[in-house]
Symmetry: C2
Subunit: 352 residues, 2 copies
Amino acid sequence: MPNKVRIAIDAMGGDHGPTVLIPGAEISLVRHPDSEFILFGNEAQIAPLLAQHPRLKAVSRVVHTDVSVKMDEKPSQALRHGRWKSSMWLTLDAVKRGDADVAISAGNTGALMAMARFCIRMREGVDRPAIAALWPTMRGESVVLDVGASIGGDAEHLVNLAAMGSAMARVLFDIDQPTVGLLNIGVEEVKGLDAVREAGRILRETPLSHATYFGFVEGDDIGRGTVDVVVSEGFSGNIALKTAEGTARQLGSYLRAAMTRTWQAKLGYFLARHAFAAVREKMDPRKVNGGVFLGLNNIVIKSHGGTDAEGFAAAVDLGYDMVRYELLEKINQALSRSSGAAVAEKKVGISA
Amino acid sequence: MPNKVRIAIDAMGGDHGPTVLIPGAEISLVRHPDSEFILFGNEAQIAPLLAQHPRLKAVSRVVHTDVSVKMDEKPSQALRHGRWKSSMWLTLDAVKRGDADVAISAGNTGALMAMARFCIRMREGVDRPAIAALWPTMRGESVVLDVGASIGGDAEHLVNLAAMGSAMARVLFDIDQPTVGLLNIGVEEVKGLDAVREAGRILRETPLSHATYFGFVEGDDIGRGTVDVVVSEGFSGNIALKTAEGTARQLGSYLRAAMTRTWQAKLGYFLARHAFAAVREKMDPRKVNGGVFLGLNNIVIKSHGGTDAEGFAAAVDLGYDMVRYELLEKINQALSRSSGAAVAEKKVGISA
């Protein structure tokens, strides 16, 4: 563990590029003064912004590149023109080479995924990386994965996700036997996709060594905190994540509108403003910005492309925590144990 | 159109059966005194509850049956033992025979679906029915379908859903050219499932005659009201619906907790209580309970199994509206026009 947490940032990623990412990095730096940064991207754009953030500038190094990956580029295109030289690639390469401890990008998810697979080695035994999100629930937080790294997948892929997600929950939530649920459209055994049903059978018959299989969960169980780990293939997982964010925003806007409609409501709002602030904090989707790429040998954090500075700061915070608390190493240790067990047990399960 | 709206209810459906459904029907009756009911189920359970609801009793007829479909029964099992004689089947049969105008069940979705397909004829040209939900958004309401009738589906199925959903939106929202979006995990053309991409291509190249294809939408676009009609296959659609409900409940519980923590918050809550009530009304998932089965020749409404009386009343209200405003006929008319056009245009699209 280095003294400082060294953070590599793809400064050209996201819908707004450095105008949002630079202020975001500074917000996180204020919270974690023992961070330092390598910013990859167009120096002509980055330098004037850094000049406005002297605190960040003092602990940052800019590595210039002309090439950046567009938000709507196909992964294959991004690889073709952005390999070796784009800000995204260089950010990933920095963690691979050991120049940084964590790579953070708000860029195009598909391209980031493809580049991460080319640039950084995958963990042995993992077929595809996954993106795990920390989801605030009524009971605390849950790990939800995959929220969009890959579409579809068979039962084995889902069992793999269950092993990775429960390893992450063990470490982040400091619990010995996290509970794991498979996202489905009904709690009855009869419902759902074949892959989900088959994964349920495997997990039921041959449990993971460090997690308790709960069964199927539905969309409303996520916010309820029914289980510590919610497993889904990436398409439905992403739709669940975005839908929850949208609903939180929608209710926030209802509330704002209602609280300004009459003077009683305005006065009530004023008196209860601290309570509102607490709820806003809890329901702010920006606070949970940042998905962790699981299955790689380095730490890569994906921030939402459309985020603002506060949201990007949350992604940087998550990267910082992953490094400072050695979460990757701990997840990998837990994963070696449980996926080894899962594989062994799964064979028994399948032959049974 | 009969003078009264005749409502058939599967009184044994749902997690709580008649103890919730009978009071729910009475709530709806108070709002629509020109309703009358046929209640199918176990008379020994229904009669004492009806005795407590004399207003409902006065306009209801009970048809006794011993047989009911369990919530966890497989559709095939339900058909085997419940065909011809279960409360669910008899409820559907009542609309088929013309004894009632609308069938409402809070029972097992899979069984209801299977029985509806056996008992009630499907619209010509529709391969599988879909369940459409009315989703409150920041701009009003949207139609979201399919929210769980069937899992998966090819591009043609999605185009079919787009035609049915936009026909429903035309009628319910009284707009000439509703906008239609395909639920996907990225707005870029490059992302998503093959079927969704292909459906997008068809809708772009050969538009529906009475709807405007918007493009892909993501989970957070649903609550934003980006489009009037959101199209998804049933697995992701159901997960989106349940996740939104869960998030609404979660935020409601945060708010309640925050507003009772200090005396200022309590006082603020008291002053702003009408504003809170308005928001609660808007965000109450029970208010939008009730999915409409589209693709059948009769009106069938599915209520959530776990709903309470207020939620079941919302499903009955929806059924009432569908009958009173002749929505099914209007949807079918619109559908004949636009699906005819879609099929014709689709052929051009595919050959192009």
